[in-house]
């Protein structure tokens, strides 16, 4: 996928564990783990909003676009 989630990097910067983020965001740590490893198709604005609030960051810090040779397919 062309969109890469950099949640692990931002979490490491903020020194925040998955369980801690899970509690603050209100999303199960299993699901946050899926998000961290890029195993989801989409993310809701409400979830993104809660993550940015908890990590004190911008959506651009978490999401990154990477150009792929086959056009992101």
């Amino acid at each position: 996928m062309a969109i890469i989630l950099r949640l692990d990097r931002v979490m490491a910067d903020r020194k925040m564990s998955l369980n801690e983020l899970s509690e603050k965001v209100g999303v199960a740590n299993v699901n946050l783990s899926k998000l961290k490893n890029g195993r989801v198709s989409a993310i809701r604005f409400s979830t993104l909003d809660a993550i940015c609030e908890a990590l004190d960051c911008q959506p651009g810090d978490i999401l990154e676009y990477e150009k792929t040779p086959n056009g992101g397919k």
Partner: protein, 205 residues
């Protein structure tokens, strides 16, 4: 939509269809046993007349017969007709039983609160095909039953001999099953799309 209400209804329907399936099996066993008993009775005493009240008139599916006074068909002829009817009834029961089985498989995940599975779309397609088979078997069954009755009771000869005063055959073919087939196929595509939406929702955080 109240998903709990939907789940409860699906659960109740599932149990209801399970009971109908059990009733089909019991009825099928009873019919086979009765026909077999009549066959055995006929083998033991071929001259014994079956306990059947004709009252000078008989309805066999689409055939309406009016008998002349004193006429009754022979046992062996009656048994041939009975076995053909039993075989046709078994075919109807088999299609209905399998169809109900697929409906129950669709109801199972609905009872758990998740109606849109790709498997449900496939089961709907199978039910659609079964509805086609049902329609063909039902329409063919009318012709087979009528022909069997005509042959088993020797009605052609009877009519010519003047033993019966009238014979009328009214074939009624039903083509509703074609509409049912297309409606079910359409529902199957709706379920396929629903399953895709469900998958996307499951993968969205």
């Amino acid at each position: 939509m109240d998903i709990n209400k939907l789940s409860a209804t699906a659960g109740r329907l599932n149990r209801f269809f399970k009971a109908i399936q059990a009733a089909i099996i019991i009825a099928w066993i009873v019919v086979i046993c009765v026909t077999a008993a009549l066959t055995v009775q006929n083998a033991i005493n071929p001259n014994a007349m079956l306990d059947y009240e004709f009252n000078n008139a008989l309805e066999l599916g689409p055939i309406k017969l009016t008998f002349a006074d004193g006429y009754a068909p022979e046992n062996s002829n009656f048994l041939v007709y009975a076995w053909i009817s039993t075989a046709l009834g078994s075919a109807y029961a088999a299609v209905l039983y399998i169809g109900l089985g697929y409906v129950r498989k669709i109801l199972n995940p609905i009872a758990c609160g998740r109606p849109f599975y790709l498997e449900n779309a496939l089961y709907l397609k199978k039910i659609a095909v079964l509805s086609l088979i049902w329609g063909v078997v039902k329409n063919l069954g009318v012709v087979i039953e009528t022909t069997a009755a005509m042959r088993s009771f020797g009605l052609d000869a009877l009519r010519d001999s003047g033993m019966i005063s009238s014979v009328s055959v009214d074939y009624v073919f039903s083509f509703d099953f074609i509409v049912t087939f297309f409606v079910l196929m359409l529902m199957s595509y709706v379920f396929s799309y629903g399953a895709e939406l469900q998958r996307l929702d499951d993968e969205t955080l």
